[in-house]
């Protein structure tokens, strides 16, 4: 964990009997340069060594001393203050964040005696918990670059087929070795004696020709069997790889998907697994074939004539050397090409779902330019690879041609000196031809191998990624025998940061089973993040969330989430029928259960109005349905799994007020008897909440019932008044517009009446009239100006 370890020479000067209770290894100095220092808390003192200091400084602990922790943009500072001013400041990076938090905790406990019966001992510390959670991202060794060999893991289930395939390859290669061998006696015993005046022995010729035919036929059958078998296996390996990558992707946390771009992931799982598959089925096969062929040819050549064999092998080291030269370049080049493919896909996945925005702002040309730019980069990278590649391949051919020339020359010289017969030379040349062709094709495979290696690396990048929300090694049983929790949620001093931005800071909350909590606040105040933490889409950075008294990190993820029903602002419907979408969380649900859930969600009637009822297919994003209809389907989906904990994340924000009423009715059924956490912007939607929690910049600023919070005249009151004012203005404007369009006394009267009623509602502090006005007013869910959090 410590990026910088402290040299031993600067041990803190502890007195006898004094013990260091907490240590912070600072890794920055006052000017924010990397340097080592230390802050130590003992039972009586705070000691510090700053980089550049001569020795240790110390302060006796007292109530007057305060230690403050802050951070900004990846740097944290720890300030020691008393009532007069700042005494000292130390800086460190967020890598030391855990140490700093512990140090401040210990410091506070030591300087102020703890009230008896405090409970914070029970809260599992993040660091302590890590041991039980098994895989820690940090311990992961970076993957080796020998990515292709790692495919062995996927080949293991097919080892018998692979072994058989290898045997067949061996046999095929051997069979194709026979014909050139037969040319030798054919030449020396038949053709050359005939030239010298001896008649042809037709029986002998038939024998040799028959041998050639049989060898060809055997090679054909064996080759067929081999190719078919190995293609089958490699196709399966490719499919396994794809599934494994997708399955692993599903287990990764939201954080991963937040940082990756869709196009890139599609490219990795789709194209690259396919490329590996093709490599395995075609090129790897060719490659082993070539290696075998070369080895056998070499053996035969040596057996015929060792000296000439030696000559033919001359180009081999040169070819090996060039392969070595270009291999790395090619692989890096192909990696770049792959990354660029991801980039091109990214442009597509950006533009296609966002096509309405593109068209609305008339930015088609800009998107085309962006695509062209990505494509041009692709071209540039490809050009570079091709430059290397185009030179490489002819060079190998040239070397083999030169080799052939050498063989011809030495062959003729040896024949002239009667060292070998013409038949031997002919056989030699036949073998050599094959030998060099193989060598040539083998060198071609270099590029394909590197392509596949680059692809394998990118797939293993996914497979090697460890989820930041890991499943515990020994999960605690979730709830009762049927896996149902009671739904008590205790949030204990949690903190959470996105990158280096703290989004949630020190939130404490207790929610009794069956209670409904409304989370209120400006956008950016951390409401949705809090909900995400409760769902364990992310893990808290500090503190803990306990459900039924157990840290949620101790439950198996799937068991825990089975108890959670989630209704989002933008309901997502998968491609499929409505029934399938409702039964998404519980595929074994009966039709009766689906209908019951739809009824309770007030979706039944509109579903029946569709031409195919529950069997209607909804498009990619459920385009054919309105926002309210989609939302009710997603409510039915949540109802069907009968969750103990229900989370409504702005469930009614994106629909109009009339639809909102319908959805509200559907939600009433859903909320009944469940622990509910509702995030909402429109306060009117939280009428039924037992308690409202007002968040601001990641901390809880107010908590209580509606009336109580209104009386307190704080943040909630401000939010409420702002919304009431907005509703009043809109209603008044609308009425005025109606009056202007149709200036009858009735309309004017109505306008005056409405404005009056709305203003009255705004000044009053009762929720029902407000709800009424909000429902009467048109919907725009205008957000209060969100201020960037610092």
């Amino acid at each position: 964990m410590n990026r910088l370890s402290i040299p031993n020479c600067i041990e803190p000067p502890l007195r006898a009997g004094e013990e260091a209770l907490a240590v912070l290894h600072t890794d920055l100095d006052e000017r924010l340069c990397f340097a080592r220092g230390r802050v130590v808390v003992t039972s009586a003192r705070l000691l510090a060594y700053s980089p550049g200091d001569q020795g240790w400084r110390s302060w006796a602990l007292s109530k007057d001393l305060k230690l403050q922790r802050r951070d900004h943009a990846g740097v944290a500072s720890l300030e020691l203050q008393n009532s007069q001013g700042r005494l000292a400041r130390w800086r460190h990076t967020l890598a030391q964040q855990d140490e700093a938090a512990r140090l401040v905790g210990v410091f506070e406990r030591q300087s102020a005696p703890r009230p008896t019966g405090s409970v914070d001992e029970e809260i599992p510390d993040g660091a302590a918990l890590e041991d039980s959670l098994g895989a820690d991202e940090e311990e992961q060794a970076p993957p080796s670059t020998w990515a292709l060999l790692r495919l062995g893991r996927f080949a293991r289930p097919y080892r018998t087929e692979l072994a058989l395939g290898l045997l067949l390859t061996l046999a095929t290669t051997a069979a194709t070795m026979v014909p050139p061998y037969l040319t030798m006696p054919l030449m020396d015993d038949v053709l050359i004696p005939y030239q010298n005046g001896r008649p042809i022995d037709s029986g002998q010729v038939q024998g040799y020709l028959g041998g050639l035919l049989v060898a060809a036929l055997i090679a054909w059958i064996l080759g067929w069997a081999r190719t078919w078998l190995l293609a089958r296996v490699s196709e399966r390996i490719g499919a396994d790889l794809r599934t494994a990558a997708f399955a692993h992707l599903q287990s990764l946390s939201l954080e991963y998907f937040g940082s990756k771009r869709t196009g890139d992931l599609i490219a990795r799982i789709g194209n690259e697994s396919d490329r590996i598959c093709v490599f395995l089925s075609l090129h790897l096969l060719d490659f082993t074939n070539d290696v075998l062929m070369i080895l056998m040819t070499a053996a035969i050549l040596v057996s015929i004539d060792p000296k000439s064999a030696l000559v033919t092998l001359v180009p081999l080291p040169f070819i090996a050397w060039t392969i070595h030269l270009v291999r790395d370049r090619l692989r890096h080049g192909f990696e770049k090409v792959d990354r660029n493919w991801g980039e091109i896909n990214n442009v597509l996945t950006d533009t296609i779902p966002g096509i309405r925005v593109v068209k609305a702002f008339a930015q088609e040309n800009r998107e085309i330019a962006r695509f062209r730019a990505a494509n041009d980069r692709n071209l540039a990278v490809n050009d570079r690879v091709n430059r290397v590649w185009s030179l490489f391949s002819p060079t190998v051919t040239l070397m083999t041609e030169l080799g052939l020339l050498v063989v011809w020359a030495t062959g003729i010289w040896q024949v002239a000196n009667d060292r070998i017969t013409v038949g031997v030379l002919a056989a030699f040349l036949a073998y050599i031809g094959r030998f060099y062709i193989r060598l040539d094709s083998m060198s071609r495979i270099v590029s394909l191998t590197q392509k596949a290696a680059a692809g394998a690396k990118r797939i293993f990048d996914i497979l090697d990624h460890v989820s930041s929300v890991p499943d515990p090694v020994n999960p605690v049983a979730c709830g009762d025998q049927t896996g149902r929790l009671t739904g008590r949620i205790q949030i204990r001093g949690i903190g959470f940061r996105y990158g280096h931005r703290a989004v949630i800071r020190g939130v404490d909350l207790d929610i009794a089973p069956g209670q409904m909590i409304g989370l209120v606040g400006h956008s950016g105040s951390g409401k949705s993040t809090l909900v995400n933490l409760i769902c364990r889409f992310h893990d808290v950075s500090e503190g803990a969330i306990l459900v039924d008294g157990v840290d949620i990190r101790r439950y198996a993820l799937a068991d825990y989430r089975r108890n959670i029903g989630l209704v989002l602002q933008e309901p997502f419907l998968f491609f499929g029928t409505i029934a399938e979408n409702i039964a998404y969380g519980c595929p074994q649900a009966t039709r009766a259960e689906i209908v019951k859930a739809a009824r309770a969600a007030r979706a039944h009637e509109f579903i029946l109005r569709l031409p195919h009822g529950y069997d209607s297919v909804v498009g990619e994003r459920g385009q054919a349905l309105s926002g309210g209809e989609r939302q009710r389907i997603s409510i039915a989906r949540a109802l069907l799994i009968d969750p103990r904990i229900l989370i409504l994340d702005e469930a009614t924000s994106s629909v109009d007020t009339t639809t909102e009423i319908e959805i509200q009715q559907a939600l009433e059924n859903l909320i009944r008897g469940r622990t509910t956490i509702a995030v909402a912007h429109r306060l009117s939607t939280l009428r039924r909440a037992d308690r409202l929690v007002v968040l601001d910049r990641g901390i809880v600023v107010e908590e209580g019932g509606h009336d109580e919070l209104m009386r307190r005249d704080g943040a909630y009151r401000k939010l409420y008044d702002a919304q009431a004012r907005q509703a009043a203005t809109e209603a008044a404007l609308e009425a005025a517009a109606a009056a202007a369009a149709e200036p009858t006394i009735a309309a004017l009267h109505q306008a005056a009446h409405l404005t009056g009623a709305v203003l009255a509602a705004a000044s009053e502090s009762a929720s029902i009239p407000l709800a009424a006005t909000l429902n009467a007013a048109p919907p725009p869910s205008r957000e209060p100006v969100a201020e960037e959090e610092r």
Partner: protein, 157 residues
């Protein structure tokens, strides 16, 4: 958001910046924030209060009096942390995560890259690398790096 164009700035015993507006309002613990820290660092600064509310806006830093400029510069220097990578000494591997030993303008250190997507390309040939703790390392211009560092980087781009 009330914009205050005239103000005075001092530092108190706690090391906090104190801003007094022309109306005599006193804000303790104000922070200077650059609006475009990468593309235009010396233009468009805001002074924000402890809760992130904007208190004053500075179009151009050099139009401010010397004392204000020094205080702002000091405060920014104490808060801004974007080490510039001068040299990449070694790289643990070319897959992710990868640990790099680097030399920066703030001393030698080590960064852990979680994946290629944590390298952001900046307009003008620069790179911004975010390590696993959220520290951002800047490479102002790829071309000014030495050959070996460039070769290491090339494998991730």
């Amino acid at each position: 958001m009330n914009q205050v164009f005239e103000f005075s700035l001092t530092r108190d015993a706690f090391g906090r910046l104190v801003m007094t507006s022309i109306l005599g309002e006193v804000f303790v613990g104000v922070l200077p924030v650059r609006s475009f820290p990468i593309t235009a660092p010396n233009e468009a600064l805001a002074l924000v209060g402890p809760h992130g509310e904007e208190l004053a806006w500075i179009d151009q830093l050099d139009t401010q009096p010397e004392s204000v400029r020094t205080l702002i510069a000091e405060e920014l220097a104490a808060r801004e942390f974007m080490p510039e990578i001068v040299k990449i000494l070694s790289v643990s591997g070319f897959g992710a995560p990868s640990t790099w030993d680097i030399e920066t303008n703030r001393g030698a250190t080590r960064l852990t890259l979680r994946g290629e997507e944590y390298i952001r390309r900046l307009a003008g040939g620069g790179l911004l690398i975010t390590d696993r703790y959220g520290i951002q390392f800047l490479i102002p211009d790829l071309k000014t790096l030495d050959r070996q560092s460039r070769q290491f980087l090339d494998r991730f781009l």
